[in-house]
């Protein structure tokens, strides 16, 4: 099993639980190249390294985005003008691609992520408010592997409140990154989490009920089943990863554009230096 770890409370708590339960769970850290004045990426990796130092046998794969792809995430976002000034769009897309690729190429049969109940409820709220039927069709704690190259994905903590995973990490002495990614400030998901917490304060259990009744509607009444069956994936001719695009996948197109723009920016300077 491969566990995606960010250095935050949820993913480190999940890794801790999986190891304690006897799973051969290896970690994957994607170094995004985000500093934000708090050394966010470096700090996250340091926490993960401290975590594995205390757990002999735990193995970690690190994918260094600036080194492997050519630019840190915030610069890539600037160069492609994706995401209206926020790097979250290119960040999420790249992380999903890398996680699937590493799990697939490494022969892992399942990829686990630390999504908790609050994450699921906030995503569900966002998707419902804008009726993103395709996203609603794919939102599930277990997504099966597909013949077109998607690995099986699981969210073992999807029934746990964010408070519970944080409490677990504190009680077990797991040292995690307290600093939030600097780009998370003002994120819609955090806004939705605040609204859901107000609801939860008035009606305890509301978040769990929201997520579980959605899953029940899908399983028992076939809600969004049609949208789920409409998606057909092809293989990207460049990287071989599954994609809904005709031709190259969004990841390959985006990062090619980043490297092109980077080269066109640095090229004149290199010529000047050579003179």
């Amino acid at each position: 099993m491969l566990v995606a770890v960010s250095g935050g409370k949820d993913s480190l708590a999940l890794w801790d639980v999986l190891v304690a339960l006897g799973y051969q769970a290896d970690g994957l850290y994607i170094k995004l190249g985000i500093d934000g004045g708090v050394r966010y990426s470096d700090q996250s990796l340091e926490k993960i390294e401290a975590f594995i130092a205390a757990r002999p046998g735990a193995r970690l794969t690190v994918v260094d985005v600036p080194q492997e792809l050519g630019a840190p995430i915030p610069l890539a976002a600037q160069l492609t003008r994706r995401g209206q000034g926020r790097p979250c769009s290119i960040c999420g897309m790249s992380r999903r691609h890398i996680m699937n690729r590493v799990a697939h190429d490494g022969g892992y049969d399942v990829l686990a992520t630390g999504h908790n109940l609050d994450d699921e409820a906030a995503t569900l709220m966002g998707n419902t408010l804008s009726w993103q039927v395709g996203y609603l069709a794919r939102q599930h704690p277990v997504l099966p592997a597909s013949d077109d190259g998607l690995v099986r994905k699981v969210k073992p903590f999807f029934r746990f409140y964010e408070r519970e995973t944080a409490a677990y990490a504190l009680v077990c002495g797991i040292d995690y990154v307290y600093d939030e990614c600097p780009y998370a400030v003002g994120a819609t998901s955090i806004y939705y989490k605040g609204l859901l917490n107000q609801l939860e304060a008035d009606r305890p259990g509301a978040k769990l009920q929201f997520v579980l009744s959605f899953l029940r509607a899908k399983e028992e009444e076939g809600a969004f089943a049609q949208a789920a069956s409409e998606v057909t994936l092809k293989r990207c001719p460049k990287c071989g990863q599954p994609t809904a695009n005709d031709g190259e996948c969004t990841f390959c197109r985006t990062w090619d554009r980043v490297r092109e723009r980077l080269a066109s920016q640095t090229h004149p300077q290199t010529q000047m230096e050579a003179r």
């Binding site: 935050g8 409370k9 949820d10 979250c88 960040c91 609050d118 994450d119 906030a122 964010e162 408070r163 944080a166 409490a167 504190l170 009680v171 307290y178 939030e180 990614c181 780009y183 998370a184 994120a187 998901s189 955090i190 989490k193 605040g194 917490n197 107000q198 939860e200 304060a201």
Partner: protein, 96 residues
């Protein structure tokens, strides 16, 4: 007329010094024991005797969004705060 909730006139006059302090050397500093609460870089003070949950609300924060820690140990929301307690609130919301 006395407004409900406002200090009563009797109490207000009781707080006035019964004598005039004229000499600077005679100044008295009174330390009121409170509970200090820190959340990120914010500092709050509340009165002892209330529960952690009420104190978090009093600071304008959502009890669901934080975990209270006292002396490095996680405490529950029904704990009644004592004079001099120092509470650190750990943010639990993450996302992006």
């Amino acid at each position: 007329m006395h407004v409900k909730g406002a200090p009563s006139p009797a109490k207000a006059s009781a707080r006035e010094a019964p004598f005039a302090l004229t000499e600077p050397a005679a100044r008295v500093t009174i330390f009121l024991m409170t509970v200090s609460i820190t959340f990120r870089d914010q500092q709050y003070e509340v009165r002892p005797g209330m529960t952690v949950r009420d104190a978090i609300r009093k600071c304008g924060l959502q009890p669901e969004a934080v975990l209270p820690v006292r002396d490095g140990k996680l405490i529950t929301e029904d704990v009644v705060l004592k004079e001099g307690d120092r509470i650190k609130l750990v943010a639990v919301i993450s996302g992006g």
